[in-house]
Structures are given as C-alpha cells and as structure tokens.
Amino acid sequence: MSYYRLLLRLFPPSFRSDYGEEMARLYADRRREVAGRKGAEMRLAIEATADALVQAVGEWGRVALRGTGTILREGTSMDGWMQDLRFGTRSLLRRPGFTAAAVTTLALGIGATVATFSVVNGVLLTPLPYPQPDRLVVLRQVDTRTGSRSRGVDHPDVRFWQAEVPGLRVAGYEGARPTLTGMGEPEVVLGADLTDGLLGVFGLKPALGRDLTAEEDVPGGPDVLVIGYRFWKERMGSDPDVIGRTITLSGKAWEIVGVAPEGFDFPNGAALWRPQQHDETDCSHGCRYMQAVGRIEPGFTLTQVQERMTAASAHLSEAFPKSHRDVTTEFERMLDVQVADVRTALWVLMGAVGMVLLIACANVANLLLVRASERLGEVALRATLGAPRTRIVRQLLTESLLLSIAGGAVGVGLAVWGVSAMVRLAPDGIPRLDQAAIDGRVIVFAVTLVLAVTVLFGLAPALRLARRPLSAAMGASRRTGGGRRTALSRSLLLSGEVALSLMLLLGAGLLFGTLRSIRAQDLGFATERVERFRISTPESRYDTEATIRFFEELERRLDALPEVAAAGSAFGVPLASGSVSTSLTFPDREPVDPADRPDMAVRPATPGYREAQGLPLVRGRWFTDADQRENEAVAVINQAAARRFYPDEDPLGHPIRLSISWGFDDDPVRTIVGIVGDARTWSATEPDDPAAYLPNAQFGANVAYVTMRLERGARTALPAARTVLKELDPALAITGAERIEDVVAEELAPTRFYLTLIGVFSVLALILAAVALYGVVAYSVSRRTREIGIRVALGARSGEVVGMALREGVSPALLGIFAGIAGSLIGSRALRSLLYGVEPQDPGTLAAVTGILLAVVLAATFVPARRASRVPPSEALRIE
C-alpha cells in the first residue's frame, strides 16, 4: 500500500489529488486478491509499477501539452502517440547514416556515464551490508588544542564508554597476524584482538556458538577465539561440532567458541577474533593502540549519543589529565570513513563523464539542427495541413526519444562492459569496488538520463523548428542552410563542446603531470631489485635475546645467498603498514611539559638494513654488529629529524631519550651517531616524519620487514629465503612478500586509474568535438558551394575561400577555448586533492592542452574548407 503511494508521486499533482486515493484503494483491493501468494504478489507489484510509469509519462505529457494550449482529442491520444512512434521510427530508418551517428554518440555518452555512476553507486551510495548500517560509527579522538585527529583509542577508554555512554554499543579492536601451525604449512592469518561484543556492534549473531565476552578479555583470561565463516568452511570442513576444538596460533592452543556469520570479515578481511586481554600494568590510559567501532542503539540519535560522549570525554580529561587533556571523542559514519579517500576522486570522475555526456548531447543537437533545416519544408507542409504546433513538437520529440532510447540501450550494454573494465583496471585502494554493478538504482539512473538527454538535445531543435513562422519556413530556400538563428545555435553548441573538451583535457593533463612528478620523485630509497617480506617471532617461544639472535642469524644466512647483495631487517619501513612513534626528550636541554614533547618515529633496524633498503648515509655512521645492548646506546636520525630538532647545530654526539621500549624494560639515553636521508614512508607524496633508527640488538623488536637487495641479474631471492627460514625455524610463516617496484607502482595506481579514465573521457570528448566541427564546416561549405563557385568564378583565390570556410569553424572554437580556460580556472580546484607536484592552474599544462585542442580544431575545419576551394566553379554553379 505504502509502496503504491510512492508510485503515485510519479503523477502530476492534479491527477493525484483527483484519483490518487481511489487508485491506492484499488491497488489494495487487488493485493487482497493475491494475498499470501508470494509470486502473484510480486507480479502484481511489477505490473502496477510498469502501469504507473507508463501512465504517469502519458499524464505528464498531457499536462505539458495543456500548458502549451493544445486540446487533444483524449480518446485518440494514445493512438496519436503510437502514430508518432511509427512515424518517428520510419523517419529515422530513412536516414540510417544520421541515425547511426546520433545513436553511437549517445551510446558513448550514456554508456560512459552509466558505467561511472555504477562505480559511484557501488562505492559511495550502496549501504554497508549490515543491519541498520546508518547507525554504525567509527570513533575518533580529537585533540582540541592542536586539532589533530586519530583513530587510536586505549583499552580502558573502551571499557569506560561501554559503561558510561548510554545509547552506544562499542567494541575496541587491534589487527593481529598470528601464525597458524598444525594445519599444513605454517601460515599467517589475518585476525583481530578485541574487547568484546564486536558482532553485536555490527548487529550480527554468530553462525555457531557465541561471541567473545567481557569476562574473557582480562589478563590471563582463557585462550578462546571466534573463527570466520570461510575459515570454518575451508579449513575446518564446515565441521558442525567445531565448538570446543582447538587450533594452534603462534605456538599456543586456542579453543574455538564461535563461528562468525557468513561474509563477516571486519577489520580488513579478518578470519579470527581473540580477546585482547589487555594488561593495564603494562600500559593503561594513553596507550592508544586500538581502534573502536560503535553502533548507535535504537531509540537514540547520533546527536544525543555524541552529547553523552562529550560529557564522558570531559570526565576522562579530568580524571587522566596526562593522557586525556584536551582530548575529546567524535563519531564518523562507518561508510564515510571507508570511502573518505576516494569520494572526491569519484565525484570528479562523475563530473568529467557528465561533461562527455553534455558534449554528446550537443553533438546530437547539432545533427538535429542540421537536419531540422532540411526538414523545414516537411514541417511547413504539416503545419499548413492543420497540425497544431504542439503536435509537431511532440512528433519531433518522439524522434529524439527514440534516438536516446536506442542510444541508452546500447549505452547500458557498453556500461556493463565498461564497469567490468573499470573494476579490472582499478587499484586495490578503492574500497567496496566489488559492489559496482548495474543494479536497480543504476537502471533508474539510466532511464532518467535517457529522458533528460532527450530534453537536452531534442527540445531546442524541435521548438526552433515548430516556432518558425510558416511563411518563413515555406519561403526558406534549401540553400541558405536554415537561417541565421540556427547557425548561431550551432556555433554556440560548438563553443560549448570545445570549452568542455578543453576542461577535460586539462584535467587529463594535470593528472598526467601528477603521475610524472610522482614518478620523478626521489623516494629516498632504492626501488629496483629490492624484495622484502614480513616476519615475526612469537613471544611464546622467543624471548628478546632469542629474537635478536634469530634476526642476526637470518641476516647472516640471507647475506650468504648468491642472489642477495645485502640483507637487513627493520620495522617502520617505506610504504608498508606498521610503524611506531613516541614522544622525545632531550637530556641536554631544559625539560619541557610532557604534553609539549615532540613526536619521533622509531625504527628498529639491523646493521644490513641501510644498504639493503638503499638509504643514503648523510653524515656519521650506521650500525655495526658491535652495537649491542652492553655497549653504548646509539641512534641514527633522518634528515627530517635533523632539520626539525637541530636546525642550527650538528646533531652528532647529542643525546636523545625515547619513551618507548619493546623487548627490554626501558629504553636508555641514546647518542646520535649518524644521519641518513629521508625515505618516503607513508606514501610516495608525503614527506618523511622525523625518525630515529635504533639498532635492534638494543631494542628487541620481534616484528620486522626483512629487506633484500638483489645482485645484478638475479630475478628473485624469495624461494631461497623461504628455504633459509625453514632451516632456521620451520614453524615461522612469512607474509607480505613483495618487490619494492610493485609497491611503488601500486602507489601510483590510483593516479594512473583516474588519469586513464579522464584520459579516455577527454579523448572521447575531443573526437566528438572534432566530428562536430568537421560536420558544421562541411555542411556549411556544402550549402554554400554555389556561393563559393561564384566567388571563384569572379576571381577569388583558393586561399580566400579556405579562409572563409575556416572562420566558420575556428571562430566558435576560439570562443569555446576562452570559455574553457575561464571554466577550468574555476573547475580545476575540484581536482586539487588528486594532484601532486602540479598546480591546478598550471600554465604549462594549460598551454599544451590549448595547443592540442587548437591543432584538432584546425585539422577538423581545414579538411572540408580545402575541399570547398577545390570545387570547380562550373560544377559549383550547376548545383542546386
């Protein structure tokens, strides 16, 4: 019933108020007839929808025509439409060339638009696949003093919010990568360590067993876990009695208490979830290594819960000033968080493809205008025979509608192909891309597009044609090409096309510049012949000493491989996940307030790492095997740290102290012994943070990226490295084996993706605009063959004739170029966040793009113009 009332909104208000109630009642009556039979109910709903759509279109048509003062014989109006359709089809089929050109143009425009919209729809508009996805939030800590934001929260905070913020269901999690053994080859499995209630936050229930509880999330709590549905299916053979079985993770046995529902893999493809069992004696408030997700409970609004959360934050600030001063907590909708990085880019793409569609419409409008001038006689005849003007407009619009329906149908077909091409082309970094498909919403969009496009390109030519006074139309000579106003419209359409093409080309040019400047970027480390993998030693089997010896031994054996020129390991390596930072103090300076201490990235590394990664040594020395715990504690800083903390002095020899430790209880005061170059760590475009490299023998990190510089000519060292590892400890698994080249290429992938799409769009735009230019000039020349012939006969030189014809195309193109430059000065701002190393108004790019466009304009106009000058006068004069 309510669904039908929704459909009623399709109708003009007058009709709705007259008959809406009765129609809804009739629909309800009909539903009662089929109540209980699912298939029949569905069929009725579909039929009624189709009926409402068709009738609403008819009704709006009626209203529109009444607005223009037509009286239709209602009884025959449908017949009239059918007649229009038949007539339109015949008339289009009579001119297959024109029809094919128009349909192809529209299909390209609509296809590209629908494909892009499918991606936007899948990524940005489709709700998350959980119950009431709008209520899912991600928590974010905001420092009100500095404005800095972070997703890191601490374990006690999550417990506090669970107890003190009514209306909020919240769970904390930390990504984990335990090594699974005892089931074939050792393997690192993605997972998460939790507080409790994660499934509940997502509104889900376990498929088997139960979720983790708060009682299990205590230090020394039971070793229990929930496994993912796929893990259960593929690794446990869908065992119905899986609850109570144990699996071995990083050397410890864990008892399975639950299986997550199918499809659930939050966060980041996790396949198992364990209690965090956070030990507060280690680190209490301020240890923000977890992230938190929440659900606004039914009956509460986001604002209400946010108010309570702000109050709770104030309470925490007061109770724990050291870690919570000026810290407040905000909510972000989960969908927004997931797509934040790509939102701008996708809307820019949508804007770009919209321009292509506009150009396509302009092209078709142009074709129609040309055709309109040929049809003046036909229209005039019909008008004389008594067809009302509105009827003529309707007839012409029907033809346009037929064109765009055909174009739309072909376009949607192209879009199906286009979406799969885009998905294949897209980098991994675009979330939810698997959701992109032609679904109901996309179809509705496509249908709307077809209607809008019809009005866009069809209405103006139709009105122009019908509005023309009879006498003028009858008297119009076929030679003049449709009068000055039509010629002006055509020129303006051309200008518009050129302007839009210029903007698209500029976008492509700027992205190209971005790609080039990222590529030219000195990343600060070797990008060729470097491989790496990630490995960690489980604390259950390795104490700090054993870990340090393990990495030393691994490095020694890898170094000995014939493929490897240098090997080393480190944590906090370029373009990889995993980093640590801490606050920094200077023992040789005046102490400062703890809140004002600067941050320093901490990168434990082995002696071979610098050479393997290719970090340039700027001053001093790097680590050696002698940098052990019992010797002097040392650090090597990067240039960013040197610039920031020692702007006016030599950092070498100065002491620093880091408030973080890993394998040992406490970190000593360290002496700076060297400076290395900055290495782009977060992304290829973000400068490196101030960082301190520490010899891992003095720090004891048990997770590292093992980095190998290959000998010239060596293809890969990974198989050999696996063998070495198996000899050292067969229970260890490696993850993330990759070549740095691939990692860097992946960094460029989003830009390359956007560039490819905008590039395709702008080439499409350029072709369409060139075709339009060519068409307009060729047409105008052919209409003026006689005039040209006379001029040539009277002694005009061929250069003058060419010039005259060129002006026909070049003047609107120049106008378009100016408009395009003006438009892009405003529009290119939208691109800013996608650009790097090039300004949105980069004059060089603008000049290049203008040059390309001008060349195309000249080429497209010159060919027909030249043909005009070649016509022998005798032939020209014969033509009529």
Binding site: F15, M23, R25, L26, Q55, R73
Partner: protein, 114 residues
Amino acid sequence: MVSQNTSKMEAHLPMHPEAFRILLVLRGRELHGYAIVKELERDPGRPGRVLPANLYRRIRTLSEHGLIEETEGPGDGEGERRRYFRITRLGEAVARAEALRLEGLLAGARDLLG
C-alpha cells in the same frame, strides 16, 4: 440540431476498446473502481488484469468528455467512502454509435472475407 448532436458524438469515435467496455459495464448501474475492474475482467477475451493507473486515466477521460459521471453511490454510510460512476445519456448515445460503427466494420469485413 440532430446533425450537431451527431457530430458531437462522432468526435468520440472510434473509441478505445477498453473505454468502450467501461461504458458498457456502467450501463444501468453505478459501480466503484474495484467493481468496474471485476466486471471488465469477466470478459474472457481480455488480456491481463486491469491496473489502477490505466483504469483511472480512462475514467478521468470519460468523465471529462461527459460520457460518465460520478454519483453519490448507495451510501452505506460505513467505512471508507468509495467513488461511484455511472454512464450519462451522452455516454449511452456514444456507446450505441460505437456499437453501430463496429457492426458496420464487421459487416464490411464479412463481405470482404466471404
């Protein structure tokens, strides 16, 4: 006078078959929308079911042309008020004229086809 009436009627011819059927089912009685639907669907030759928007656009057209009109209905006074329709005298005449036209068409067809 007669000729004027004839031309007024002929303006409605030929009728859409569905509109013609609506006139026929409304002859001599007042029906509401759902009852009209049920009557129409008793015709075994009719394809598919009658859907709301289609029906009410026809009713609207027929009312506007004065071929049918709304009535108070039986007014049982209970529950929701439904809207009832009945045929007008012009409607009767148009229906008759349409029937004649169809008869003529049929006769012509029979002659042709033997």
